[in-house]
């Protein structure tokens, strides 16, 4: 039986690639200047989904929740081999914490994508580093979760055998679908977009882009859709109504956690005492450390 795999992803600021250009003169980070990328471990999740499809047959659906701009990572996922991509986007989803995010994602899955076999998420996103959305989606779907997965699972037609890496502990577990997995970056190396798929999908766009285009060209939205859909260039875009969502559980109203404040990390600049790199300098340093009893 072919497997339906749903990969959940997030567009994030590239916090691992902080160069001088994104630092403000006061030494703090200019967050708006960071590049937006697909969260790295979500690409590992996509790769795992594609490997499952290649080994056992089925389809890979790649879904994100975010602003219209997040369609960028969906277009990229099509170019890497996803069969179908979905954007969950609605002003009312803004400022979601992990609880509201997991509700929204799970709502999309239960209303439109069931039955499914595997949901795969990256272990955590590099902006929030919470690692919470995966387990919370699993809870909302009432399915088991296997976190910190370190290799593509083996499937015998009834159960998955899955390797987990918990740091000092490694576990091999068995579980029947449907199940949610969260994937570590060490699980695989994500494939690059293929040239053939890039040519095919480089103009794929979401409903927001199409509305703008229709206004500019003074055509009707459904006319544009008629042209784009058969060529796979329309990125499905769902809002709160499409998900039949309880509005008290999405966005800011569905988010119990609030940000009280944000402090920028500024290098403290201590009174640094420099010593020479030669024998004399090193001897002076050792004398200082012995005298103040830092050694011993």
């Amino acid at each position: 039986m072919p497997l339906r795999v749903i990969v959940l992803a997030k567009q994030v600021p590239d916090t691992k690639n902080v160069t001088g250009e994104v630092m403000k003169p006061d030494g703090t980070l200019n967050r708006a200047a960071l590049e937006a990328i697909c969260n790295p471990e979500d690409l590992n999740a996509l790769e795992m989904g594609l490997q499952i499809r290649e080994r056992y047959g089925g389809e890979v659906i790649f879904m994100t929740m975010g602003p219209p701009r997040a369609a960028e990572i969906l277009q990229d996922a099509l170019c890497r081999g996803a069969d179908r991509v979905i954007l969950l986007s609605d002003r009312r989803f803004a400022a979601s914490d992990t609880l509201a995010t997991s509700y929204t994602l799970a709502q999309a899955i239960t209303t439109h994508l069931s039955p499914y076999d595997v949901v795969i998420c990256g272990r955590q996103a590099i902006d929030g580093d919470t690692a919470q959305v995966g387990p919370q989606v699993a809870d909302k779907l009432s399915i088991p979760q296997v976190t910190f997965v370190d290799a593509t699972p083996e499937y015998d037609g009834a159960k998955f055998r899955i390797l987990r890496d918990l740091g000092r502990v490694k576990e091999l577990v068995a579980v029947a679908p449907p199940v949610l997995l969260t994937v570590r970056r060490t699980a695989n190396s994500p494939r690059w977009p293929s040239a053939r798929l890039v040519l095919k999908y480089r103009r794929a766009r979401c409903a927001f882009d199409i509305e703008t285009e229709a206004r500019r060209q003074q055509t009707r939205v459904d006319e544009l859709l008629e042209r784009l859909r058969p060529r796979g260039l329309f990125i499905e875009t769902w809002g709160a109504e499409d998900l039949n969502a309880d509005l008290s559980r999405v966005g800011i109203s569905g988010s119990p956690t609030k940000v009280k404040k944000i402090d920028n990390v500024v290098l403290k600049g201590r009174d640094l005492k420099l010593y020479g790199a030669d024998d004399a300098g090193v001897r002076d340093l050792v004398a200082q450390l012995v005298e103040e009893r830092t050694f011993g």
């Binding site: 967050r31 919470q132 699993a138 979760q145 296997v146 910190f148 009280k260 300098g281």
Partner: protein, 337 residues
């Protein structure tokens, strides 16, 4: 509302003992409990785990809720989440704290989702304070403080309108309180009802690699970065560390380059340490690394680049090549110690 519920610490079992992060949380939990004027409790789920309750009492727990059952002998998500969620619903604590370990980060989000409450991940500090929003002042709230955006910002998070307030807390950033031998408390045995719960995930194999190095216990850490240049140069760090009775640490760049095993990694994705002396050799001091060592008593940095950020947080510095400076340092120490 002035009546507060208890503060709970989820007591994680690691290789048959209470995980040190759980003991660290009892220390912090005691501080918070004093501010709120409430008892501090620990929740212990396991099998034949009764003796561990005494460890929890000795470290400050007033009450230990013990759920003891063969089906809880090893951690699996669903049974543990079910028992803990039921207990929270029954006793209604104010705050529940977990270690930000793989187990804590697997369990806590699931419990938070069931309870539809807030959860903040990987906190590095917790305080009690106020939160103001829309003209409403919330008092005695748990301020959950954590780095985000790769450590470039520090966020303070609150869950003003839901209970319990929940957080996972990074290992090694809080102090284990001194145990008081013979200190006792109230033991509450919790009934375990898992009869209709099939074991969804079955553990087929489980292998544990012993901790080859315990950086958190070290007084002196000699740490190497990418600037060490080669795996062989780490022998210099070993020699210096053994001379000083310390341990060898490393930056992520050094681990990624294959110079040393990941057990030795200090920083946001490694271990958080606060030794008496931290010697950073060929480490530039990326924010993710600083997050794991900047609370060290004294920091000595050795680096060829005088503008490296590590010098901004160091107390002592030598601008020079570690491969030349370290042999001199070892020689000078052999003369002194």
């Amino acid at each position: 509302m002035t009546q507060h519920g208890e503060i709970w610490v989820y007591a994680e079992i690691e290789e048959g003992s209470v995980a040190s992060v759980s003991l660290e949380l009892l220390g912090k939990g005691r501080e918070l409990a004093q501010v709120l004027g409430v008892p501090l409790s620990a929740v212990l789920l396991g099998h034949r785990a009764r003796p561990l309750a005494d460890v929890l009492f000795a470290h400050g727990a007033d009450t230990v809720y013990l759920a003891d059952d063969a089906r809880l002998a090893q951690y699996t998500t669903l049974p543990f989440a079910r028992v803990l969620t039921g207990l929270v619903r029954d006793k209604q604590p104010e705050i529940v704290l977990y270690g930000a370990t793989p187990l804590g980060r697997d369990l806590a989000p699931r419990v938070a989702s069931q309870l539809r409450t807030g959860l903040t991940a990987d906190c590095t500090d917790l305080q009690i304070g106020t939160y103001e929003s829309g003209g409403h002042l919330y008092q005695n709230k748990l301020l959950q403080i954590r780095p985000a955006w790769g450590g470039n910002i520090i966020a303070t998070i609150v869950s003003p309108e839901v209970l319990p307030e929940m957080a996972t807390v990074r290992e090694g950033v809080m102090h284990v309180p001194e145990p008081v031998n013979g200190r006792t408390g109230k033991l509450v045995e919790v009934p375990v009802n898992l009869d209709n719960e099939p074991a969804a995930v079955r553990i087929l194999e489980r292998t544990t690699h012993p901790r080859t190095v315990d950086l958190r216990a070290a007084n002196i850490i000699v740490s190497g970065g990418y600037g060490m240049g080669a795996k062989e140069s780490f022998a210099l760090l070993e020699e210096l560390a053994s001379l000083l009775g310390g341990q060898v640490g490393a930056s992520r760049a050094a681990v990624d380059a294959g110079f040393i095993k990941a057990d030795h990694q200090v920083g946001q994705t490694g271990t958080t340490v606060r030794p008496k002396l931290y010697i950073a050799c060929g480490i530039s001091g990326a924010v993710q690394h600083r997050a794991g060592m900047q609370e060290s008593g004294k920091i000595l940095a050795i680096n060829t680049d005088p503008d490296a950020p590590i010098f901004q947080i160091a107390h002592y510095g030598i601008v020079g090549d570690v491969r030349e400076v370290l042999p001199r340092l070892i020689k000078a120490l052999k003369g002194k110690l």
